[in-house]
């Protein structure tokens, strides 16, 4: 299990190599990564991600532990960047390793849903006209319902 909140970029290939720890029970690995995409007006210059240092690591560890227990994971990884990110930059990644594919998929979706609306990060979209804080959407909140 590894959790990292960092300014710098990460290499998904390297992370997945380290991640695959050689346990011969692992049959399925799911990974997700989020990328800074353009906004609807196609005017995004960059994104700024603010965090609540101290709480981020704690909150993420919590959800990772919940996932590991619930889906009997052999390994789990969360990397989340903060600070200034350009269009196309990697924002974060999640990876889960299980015996069967269903557990790997479910736990990765669970982690994403919780990171999205329970880990203390806030995204700001900067355009040439100024900036705006990304609004949370009801969909993200109701996504948590399925895990209860």
């Amino acid at each position: 299990m590894r959790i990292s909140v960092q300014l710098k970029d990460f290499d998904i290939g390297k992370e997945l190599k380290l991640f695959n720890n050689g346990d011969t029970n692992i049959g399925a690995v799911v990974s997700f990564h989020g990328i800074v995409r353009n906004n609807s007006e196609k005017s995004l210059m960059h994104m700024d991600i603010e965090q609540y240092p101290g709480m981020t690591q704690k909150a993420i560890s919590n959800y990772v532990e919940m996932a590991v227990e619930r889906w009997s994971l052999y390994d789990a990884l969360v990397i989340h960047r903060h600070g200034k990110l350009l269009l196309g930059d990697r924002i974060m990644m999640v990876a889960t390793a299980a015996r069967h594919r269903r557990d790997a998929f479910q736990s990765a979706e669970f982690l994403m849903d919780y990171l999205k609306s329970r880990a203390p990060f806030w995204k700001k979209e900067v355009t040439k006209d100024g900036y705006q804080w990304v609004k949370s959407v009801l969909d993200d909140e109701s996504a948590l319902e399925r895990w209860r």
Binding site: Y52, H80, W122, K124, W133
Partner: protein
């Protein structure tokens, strides 16, 4: 004495990332009311509480949660990570 932190647009409206507050408030809500009395910027920041989340000692809680000698309390908009 409690450390009060603000993030994202809550921080921008309050104007500081954190401050130390001397308070006798029993719950989060009482502390919010106390802050709103102080200055208009608090009144503006806390005008719509349905758009604000709270954490005590770095764990999410509700507005009716008791402060109970908390060391740290934070106010911020709904998270948008991931």
């Amino acid at each position: 004495m409690i450390k009060v932190l603000y993030f994202a647009w809550v921080r921008e409206r309050i104007g500081v990332p954190y401050e130390i507050v001397e308070t006798q408030s029993g719950t989060v809500m009482e502390l919010v009311e106390e802050l709103k009395q102080k200055e208009p910027r608090y009144e503006i920041a806390f005008s719509d509480l349905s758009a604000i989340k709270v954490a005590i000692n770095q764990e999410l809680c509700e507005f009716d949660t008791k402060l109970n000698g908390a060391i740290e309390i934070a106010f911020f908009p709904p998270m948008t990570g991931g």
